[in-house]
Symmetry: C2
Subunit: 151 residues, 2 copies
């Protein structure tokens, strides 16, 4: 297990802790979700009442500063959070987004963002995309080569 963890990039280690947090909150986590072509979020979470959260994991100042598209995430979720580790200079982060303190094993919400409720049509489209992405990945894991391998 530890060697698997060592293979993760710093941002992926944060995403692992964030996914654990989401699960404890009864949110189903989905890493590397693409809500819209050209936009990939680190972790999306789908809550029991259909709430959609987006969490961007930033492992360093450089990682944050180079991400010019973060404002674009807000319109794809009900709540948006940054996830950083305890070394991160948190004063860099805009104060109106949520903040999660994370490591590879765990995470906690230290600041809640305002909720910005998605329009119904967009929520439906995002939920469908989330569902198809997750089930598609499961199917690929269960049967990597339909029509190619196995026969």
């Amino acid at each position: 297990m530890e060697s698997l963890l060592d293979a993760l990039q710093p941002g992926q280690r944060l995403a692992r802790g964030v996914s654990r947090l989401l699960r404890t909150l009864d949110f189903a986590p989905l890493p590397e979700f693409v809500p819209s072509p050209g936009l990939r979020v680190d972790v999306a979470g789908l809550g029991p009442r259909g709430e959609i959260w987006v969490v961007e994991c930033k492992s360093s100042r450089a990682d944050f500063v180079s991400d010019l598209k973060w404002g674009g995430y807000l319109e794809w979720c009900d709540r948006f959070f940054w996830a950083v580790d305890s070394e991160f200079p948190a004063e860099l982060l805009p104060g109106d987004a949520g903040l999660i303190l994370a490591d590879a094993w765990d995470a906690e919400i230290v600041r809640w963002p305002e909720e910005s409720v998605l329009p119904g049509a967009r929520r439906r489209a995002l939920t469908r995309r989330f569902a198809r992405t997750a089930a598609g990945r499961l199917a690929l894991l269960a049967d990597p080569g339909p029509g190619l391998a196995g026969r």
Copy 2:
């Protein structure tokens, strides 16, 4: 690969071929989906426009005859199909459901059912449940013991 296949129950072998078929139709397949507490379907499929299909895999006459709840599946999908292999006595199956001929490697639709469009609220609830089920299974595969193992 063949030894993995040998470990599957007959119905699961059909479900594997059905999942391949769904993928070729751009439907994301999800085995063992529970649309409603107490009801488990063999394979659910979520299409590109949000269509929800249910496929029940029947490996034998006994398997079919013992399933008294099939009428209950219809209200949880836009289209319902039976999937059977070439040995199955197809005359047992009600003529208004869809029919898929399957084996462990492939499947084809031999009879299309009428579409019975789901009400919007139910479709939304099912899509959300499908999404949370699929992402939950992925999360469990990626990290089997949050809070328990790994630290």
